[in-house]
Symmetry: C2
Subunit: 338 residues, 2 copies
């Protein structure tokens, strides 16, 4: 198993990215890890972390795509960027998955145009696992596609279902359509039309479709795959992050109030850490772009070493699962133009 | 000031509704409160709470709109329902605001058709105040209109701004357009077109438009009015509720783990209650339908006495504020067809 990593992406590149990758190499001997980026900077970062261990190699890429580049064209304009070079290695079979903490838009455009979508898939979608009361659920899409057709949503339902089953290990994942009520007739025309197709797919045994689901019920663990257009999915994802950070701050204030509350904080220290971890992007790690022919994962832009290490493990899991193979084998179910 | 209350709406009607209204009457002498519902049941409930105090009267309505009624037509089919009778009283000038914990859809349809929208306003919108790190923000719309035009969103921006200024007392409220990124070009066509109109309104000094806002920044208190279509606004609102309930449960588990953590819970008891109150619908109270000629407010379906008492106070504040007057005076700014 060989994972290619963009050493130059994200707020903490290259040092923390390299540190995370080296930690993964030490924790899982046998993994092959390829760091792509400016060779001098990457090697200097590796030196700071104790040098390159066995299994880790560096591929030079002299350019870096940053926030000022146009996401749609950056990978073409900067042909020697770490994202372009890394994805070309993946395309050429020089690795099994690619991970980057860099620009989401650039990664999505480059992934789609270099690695390509599975034949018949209309759009790649971002599908993070979000924390729920029941454990976690795949939210697909959450920002790659602001405007969606019925066919996109139907395809997201299958993509999310395969990913939940193969990568998260959820048997017969319950697929829900994110909506503003649970009755059949709820929502806008897009939701009503999608509902009918997914219902038929459920009745035919192709999907475990449980119907419409409200965001509140989804957070309570009401389904394993939440199917959304990229706009409302993004609103859901960012609201979870926002409420988590807001509540975290309120809790902190509560515990800092007096000597008594500070004692209380000590008494629940372990529990608080576990609680924080549940919503922490450093633990949650990377978001896969589903629908491409090979695994491409986006790590959080603020990823530190721990997040990057987790992202590498998720890339391994994605490569082992071969969701793309599953998608290709079932593509006929996902085409509405026949 | 005279507030009309649907005594038969919600899960805890009529007893808890009546209890809340009587508590409001006792707390604020001089208020006139009108309970609308089945006279016998309402009076029996009042007896259980110590009898009807001065200022509270009962108007008989023999029917009740329930979940099985079609929201769009229920108020016409059940002409003697508490919602229909109450809204007709409001329309006739027999009160200054109407509050119900009953069916949202029925209240919205009946409110729109009986009390009517302000001339020139295309759609009424639901505008709850949500908790944020900075205090609170008006989220408009959050479920009344699943499909929106540019004009609807522009009108919501003004409605929310007037409400935030007049009712919540926020000076020069910062208006943000809920979007999946902060740059001008982000989002779908609806957002891009709306952005241009709101930007021009901001430049002309009609609105304090701060641009696009992501859900995460909105939760951090980045604006005072969050402008959304009813679909994504509902997703945001329900996600807040869901994460709140999920985190509340996780916290409870954390505090129940051992003797030490139980001691900790005692030490932060007051803080925990304040924390819970921040996200509690019983405290947050009622959601106004903005855009109607008179104040109509929806209380949470699960409202208990405390929520109902708060809802009455919010109805008083809404009636005193006369947001409808503000809207009518500025309607020319909100019409895109000129």
């Amino acid at each position: 198993m060989k994972i290619i990593i963009d050493a130059m992406g994200g707020d903490n590149a290259p040092l923390e990215i390299v540190r995370g990758v080296l930690n993964a190499a030490k924790a899982r001997p046998g993994l092959e890890l390829v760091l792509v980026g400016r060779e001098g900077e990457v090697c200097a970062a590796a030196e700071q972390c104790g040098g390159l261990p066995a299994g880790v190699s560096v591929v030079n890429a002299t350019e870096v795509i940053d926030m000022h580049d146009d996401p749609a064209t950056a990978f073409k304009v900067k042909k020697d960027s770490s994202i372009t070079v890394g994805l070309n290695l993946l395309k050429a079979g020089e690795g099994d998955a690619f991970v980057s903490a860099g620009s989401t838009g650039a990664l999505l455009s480059a992934g789609t145009l270099l690695v390509k979508r599975v034949r018949g898939i209309r759009r790649a979608a971002m599908a993070p696992a979000i924390p729920t009361a029941g454990g976690r659920a795949v939210l697909i899409d959450c920002g790659a596609n602001a405007e969606c057709s019925v066919e996109y949503l139907v395809q997201f339902a299958y993509l999310g279902s395969f990913h939940a089953a193969r990568v998260l290990g959820i048997e017969n994942p319950r697929v829900g359509l994110l909506n503003i009520g649970s009755e059949d007739s709820k929502g806008d025309q897009l939701r009503r039309d999608t509902y009918q197709i997914l219902k038929a797919a459920g009745e035919a045994g192709h999907l475990n479709f449980i119907g419409n689901i409200e965001a509140k019920e989804a957070m309570k663990g009401g389904c394993d795959v939440i199917v959304a257009d990229g706009f409302s999915g993004n609103v859901m994802l960012k609201t979870i992050e926002g409420v988590g950070s807001f509540m975290g701050r309120e809790l902190k204030g509560m515990f800092l109030k007096s000597l008594g509350t500070k004692v209380a904080a000590l008494l629940v220290k372990d529990g608080l850490r576990a609680f924080k971890d549940r919503l922490d992007p450093d633990t949650v790690g990377a978001t896969p772009f589903l629908g491409l022919t090979k695994p491409v994962l986006k790590a959080h832009g603020a990823s530190g070493a721990r997040a990057m290490e987790n992202a590498v493990y998720q890339a391994v899991a994605a490569a082992e699962a071969d969701v793309a193979g599953d998608i290709a084998a079932h593509i006929d179910l996902m085409r509405l133009d026949q």
